[in-house]
């Protein structure tokens, strides 16, 4: 804190206000965590931690609840969406920073930011009415045809393609997280010292070689951090997924099958949860998601800080 501002009443008030604003965030997070804990205490005491996390049962009538199907759906859609999104996002970032002529950089950048600004309910509606028929009628039958007979892959595309499944949900999610990954990757690429790149060009490296051997190694931690941040976003996405996932509490090996994620289950079942233990289990589920997001963000921060340190050296 600057020393000179110690006695000035305006400055004191100003720092007090900013401090209160900052601490209120911490209070808020702790408060949310506390509410999640206290509301889910009934379910925690009834099902325990391990049983809740490992049980695939989700039966509101018999009042037996386990989170595993929801965790599975969340993790699978998230990972799959990252697999689709990261290469595309890195491609976009490379194009903007290294390849694109200057007059194109602006429009592409704006388009990506617009993608991030579209509300998720619109993605959901678009997914259900536009993307899901395309997936169900063309993409998924094609994938099935390509993979039949190939061991270790064919089982991923079993079942009737309907376009209402893990794959479609992951594609929508990937479109939603591309802006995050792309813009963080772009910023990381821009951190590459120009002099290193110019040296590489000077010794005769092609654009591809410069990107592969200079830019990507320099920024890989930043790109990784960006990917984990989008992972956090994908974990929490609700409405878009609810429309196209099929919302079925089960663990399935096929990507063409319906599943449920934590957020979708919460959105679907919270309103009509009539029994105390049901409601409490939903809060418990929310707590699990909170923890997952928290851990993800902690990991992302860790890597981003390490990346920053490396560049500032």
């Amino acid at each position: 804190m600057p020393v000179s501002s110690r006695k000035n009443p305006v400055d004191v008030t100003f720092s007090a206000i900013t401090a209160v604003a900052s601490f209120s965030v911490i209070v808020l997070v702790v408060g949310i965590l506390y509410v999640l804990f206290s509301e889910s205490s009934l379910a925690i005491s009834k099902f325990g931690v391990w049983h809740f996390l490992s049980s695939t049962d989700w039966d509101p009538v018999r009042e037996s609840f386990g989170a595993l199907t929801n965790i599975y759906g969340t993790v699978v859609t998230t990972i799959l969406s990252l697999i689709i999104a990261i290469p595309v996002a890195i491609g976009i970032a490379i194009f903007i920073t290294e390849i694109s002529p200057n007059f194109l950089k602006g429009p592409i950048g704006v388009a990506i930011e617009l993608l991030a600004a579209i509300p998720s309910i619109i993605y959901g509606m678009w997914g259900l009415f536009a993307l899901s028929p395309i997936m169900g009628n063309y993409v998924e039958p094609f994938l099935q045809k390509m993979t039949t007979g190939i061991p270790l892959v064919a089982f991923l595309f079993q079942g009737t393609p309907m376009g209402i499944d893990i794959l479609t949900a992951s594609v929508i999610l990937s479109i939603m997280i591309i802006p995050f990954t792309a813009s963080i990757s772009r910023d990381s690429f821009n951190l590459t010292p120009p002099i290193v790149k110019e040296s590489a060009y000077a010794v005769g490296a092609t654009k591809w070689e410069v990107v592969k051997n200079v830019v990507l190694p320099y920024s890989k931690l930043g790109v990784f951090g960006g990917a984990v941040l989008s992972l956090g976003r994908a974990l929490g996405e609700t409405m878009a997924v609810a429309f196209v996932l099929g919302n079925d509490h089960k663990i399935t090996s096929s990507l063409l099958d319906a599943a449920a994620t934590i957020t979708v289950t919460l959105a679907n079942e919270f309103v009509e949860a009539d029994k105390d233990i049901y409601l409490s289990s939903l809060f418990y589920l929310a707590l699990v998601l909170f923890m997952m997001s928290f851990i993800t963000l902690a990991v992302a921060k860790f890597f981003l800080i390490r990346a920053e340190r490396r560049f500032s050296r």
Partner: protein, 336 residues
Amino acid sequence: MKKIIGLVLSVALILSFGIAGAAETINGAGSSFAYPIYSAWAYDYQKVTGVRLNYQSIGSGGGIRQITERTVDFGASDLPLSPAELKKDGLIQFPAVIGGVVPIVNVPGVKPDQMRLDSQTMCRIYLGELKYWDDPQLRALNPAMNLPHKEITVVHRSDGSGTTAIFTNYLDQTCPEWKKKVGTGVSVKWPVGIGGKGSEGVTNYVRRAGYSVGYVEFAYAQQNRLSYTQLKNPAGHFVSPNFLTFENAANTADFEAKNDFDLMMTNAKGANAWPIAGGTFVLLARDKKDASMKTVKFYDWAFKNGDNKAKELIYVPLPASLKNKIRAYWKANGIY
């Protein structure tokens, strides 16, 4: 400065008195299934009496919770509470209007009101035991139909809903295996199928998937011209879903004041009764007499003047005999 504050405060005070005096308000919350008809009735009621109904369609679960905590004048639920539950929370309950649930199918060539189903086939389809459209059981029910050897895609609601409660109760009552494995509830553990969010979600999935079966509220099927089916009722007749069969179900259902009208109207025994129907219920707090009387006045008015509006919105009005039973119930509880 002080003058301005004083002025603002006094204006606010006058305004708040003005608002409070001008319009009496009834606050209700709950069932989203009942929201369209309650708000239509409320609109007419306000024109006649000046009393405003403020109804929040937050879902039946929320409605029950709000009236239990006494934050509203009445709660609305698609599932009746048992007399024991009502007693525990000091509530009374009565049905307000009736809605039906209809199975919808999407099989090429099958038009609305053509396919015939019964509780056994519905149950086996939703248990995942009956897998193909050309199953002997389905063929026996529809001898004239050329049913294809295609897998049945089962669609259900993914969000908790009164529609699901009525539908699962129908299967629960007619099918012992359903009772054992699944049961009745606003959301249940579905043995098979994909879950659509809301009626529009179910409809969309049924349309999209092909060779599929789902269930939606009658009004929704009617408005969207979906291929609903006929069902065999407990009396052994095949019936189509329409006002007549719903009314028949309501007339022959044993709603009784002595158990607070706690009844799911499924499998009513009338000769023409549609088997999957249910009332949507209003919950009142025993200890809030004024609020309950205000609410009862509204529903009494709706019972007298609201039948046409209900039919317009494809709800089924209560039969006159049931309305009289409800009025007697109000009287017995001292709020009419």
